[in-house]
């Protein structure tokens, strides 16, 4: 029995659970994923639809093409799911998992649209949040994000 995996949107209005194993963790550079995620690329992991459940609230759906439906939270916007109409699988956005390091992408898709910046992202100079945000600001920053658990 695989331990259930949980996730959801930023505000907590929509939560989900995956009761089975992951399938095809990947990142996708296609222009559809870029726009849907407002980002350079998307990070997604699949599971069988039968082992996937929305456990709180319900996502909004946008049909980004004639064969694909993308789920998101209407209250905070978090991109949540991606599924082909005909598929037995549904994919969730890795960033919406309560532990996004729990799965490791194994493949790039849509590399025809990969942005030139991609290969250099990991080499940019880095800083921690507390290096950039003064303590008095951190004190004011009361997070309203849902916790990383049910």
């Amino acid at each position: 029995m695989t331990k259930p995996t949980t996730g959801g949107c930023q505000c907590g209005a929509v939560r989900y659970q995956i009761d089975g194993p992951f399938n095809n963790p990947h990142i996708c550079h296609c222009r559809m994923c870029q726009k849907a995620f407002g980002n350079y690329f998307a990070a997604l992991v699949g599971s069988l639809r039968d082992s996937f459940h929305w456990t709180k609230g319900a996502p909004g759906f946008f049909r980004s093409s004639s064969i694909v439906q993308r789920g998101f939270c209407r209250d905070c916007g978090t991109p949540l799911s991606f599924a082909y109409d005909h598929s037995k699988h549904i994919a969730v956005s890795i960033g919406s998992l309560d532990d996004p390091s729990a799965v490791t992408p194994e493949r790039h898709y849509g590399i025809e649209a990969r942005r030139p910046a991609f290969t250099l992202l990991h080499s940019l100079a880095g800083s921690r949040t507390e290096d950039d945000v003064p303590p008095e600001m951190m004190a004011k920053l009361k997070s309203r994000q849902h916790l990383d658990r049910d």
């Binding site: 949107c9 849907a36 995620f37 407002g38 350079y40 916007g77 493949r107 250099l120 004011k140 309203r144």
Partner: protein, 166 residues
Amino acid sequence: MVKITLMSEAASEGASGGCQCGAVRYRIVGSFGHAGICHCRMCQKAFGSWGAALVSLPVAGLAWTRGRPAEFRSSAIVARGFCRDCGTPLFMRQDGDANYEIAIGSLDDPNGIPPLDRQSGVESKCRWFDRMAALPRETTESYRSPEDMRKLKSLQHPDHDTEHWP
């Protein structure tokens, strides 16, 4: 520090962008400032992703040309804009900040920005992030049959302004 040059001729003034479904569109009427990526857990959840890629822009430098974004206050001091109809994350803005941080992927030309110069929030960086470049790679055509590609009628707003949509 690594400097990446991505500035295109279409940079800043005149650039446009919006959400996936096209309900919300904007036009850049000012100049972009600093660009970078953020791995913090707030950005990961808001973008449903490894983090966020953001470019700053004076609030007065952005004109909403179709619809208006919805906002979620992710903390006591930050608002995040998104499309209520398709979810695309569009911006974040700290209260009192003179700038938006625009979601780079929502620009019609995500290459048309100043050089990225920083990654922040590295305390939350996904363990796999730094090793992504080494993964096997495929083009969309290589895993979709020609029949699939014909069936795949995109309903995404095009990467330019439209008079009427859809």
